[in-house]
Symmetry: C2
Subunit: 218 residues, 2 copies
């Protein structure tokens, strides 16, 4: 069963809840957790926690709270973390390789993170054939067949800004449905593709807004 039109504001809090539940399970402290406690640890109000979860079902018991293990497994399912997803990364520069390591480490260490990096792509002949953390770098020309063969539905883009749009469209054309873009450029993609622009330049400039001399902000 799937749920139409859940607001993105809701969806972005689910991984936060899942992380808290992972920690609680690992600590072994308690088999039950209240929306109050879960909210406090996720940095969200308790009413909002209950409302968010209620979109997907009735997971709690009045007077007691939520069973930690059960809620965790439900959230994993909702976030599609119960099965593995093959993902690739395009652009094996230093940021790309760092991100590759980061993703692979998560995959190995974090029980609720089931995104498996299966290939790196770059057009630089010097990089093709190398491997990082056991993952090979392939030529751009192989990307399309690779994506189809391994049923890759998600990709990360860490190429220079002027190449990002073109590569994103190639990916979409061979079946990729979700893209994390780290190139400092706004991509335009078909509606059915989930796109997340993680543009650190913009974020840093935003932070700088709050640095006016002598200024304090509440």
């Amino acid at each position: 069963m799937r749920w139409r039109k859940i607001s993105d504001a809701v969806v972005r809090r689910l991984p936060l809840y899942l992380r808290v539940l992972d920690e609680v399970v690992k600590s072994g402290d308690t088999p039950m957790i209240s929306s109050q406690e879960l909210g406090a640890r996720a940095g969200v109000g308790s009413a909002l926690v209950r409302k968010d979860l209620a979109w997907f079902g009735e997971f709690g018991k009045q007077g007691v709270g939520y069973e930690v293990e059960y809620l965790r497994s439900e959230l994993k399912q909702i976030l599609n973390m119960e099965r593995e997803h093959n993902i690739i990364l395009v652009g094996a520069g230093s940021l790309g390789i760092a991100l590759a390591r980061y993703t692979i480490r998560r995959y190995h260490m974090d029980d609720s993170f089931s995104l498996k990096l299966v290939g790196l792509f770059d057009h630089d002949p010097d990089k093709i054939g190398k491997a990082y953390e056991g993952i090979s770098v392939f030529a751009m020309a192989e990307m399309e067949s690779f994506v189809r063969k391994h049923n890759v539905q998600m990709a990360m883009i860490t190429v220079p800004a002027d190449a990002a749009q073109d590569i994103a469209m190639q990916l979409v054309n061979c079946g990729v449905r979700a893209i994390l873009n780290l190139a400092p450029v706004k991509l335009t993609l078909p509606e059915h593709v989930q796109l997340l622009n993680a543009d650190l330049t913009l974020e840093l400039q935003r932070l700088a807004y709050y640095l006016a001399p002598g200024q304090t902000w509440e």
Copy 2:
């Protein structure tokens, strides 16, 4: 003159506008731009563009639009990009070094990006003394005096999750006022510190929500 309590929703769009104006200046296409055009290129409605800008002053001319060069210089000033800010990065792992390169490249290439990376910090003796892109790695013990000496107000954190909170507090204690945290953990800091958690794990898990088999999203 400064403006109290501008909503964060507004502030996060300003760097986007600034980027568009940079592009327009560089292309040399037109000396004037309408809120319509600016909005289209930034992915924002024209009414919202006008409303956002109006928080800071009256920059446009009725019937004509905004003078590109002038609006750009005003936005640079609002975002504090008219003067340089020294920033540091703590945690010289592969993600840290990639981010260092990224930041330095921006600083050199982008006229509207005036955040200057001046130091890397790590506790690994093997890394201390090395340099990346001309920036040295210093020992953690030197961090406090370095921050004070170079008047560092902004920092990026790329250390493992369990060390991030402690380091963030050290930074805040010696005067840092804005932190970009890439460690996968929620930091708790004093109210006056601007904190941005850029947690790629959470973002990737969020994207995975939309990968339910056979599902299409509008």
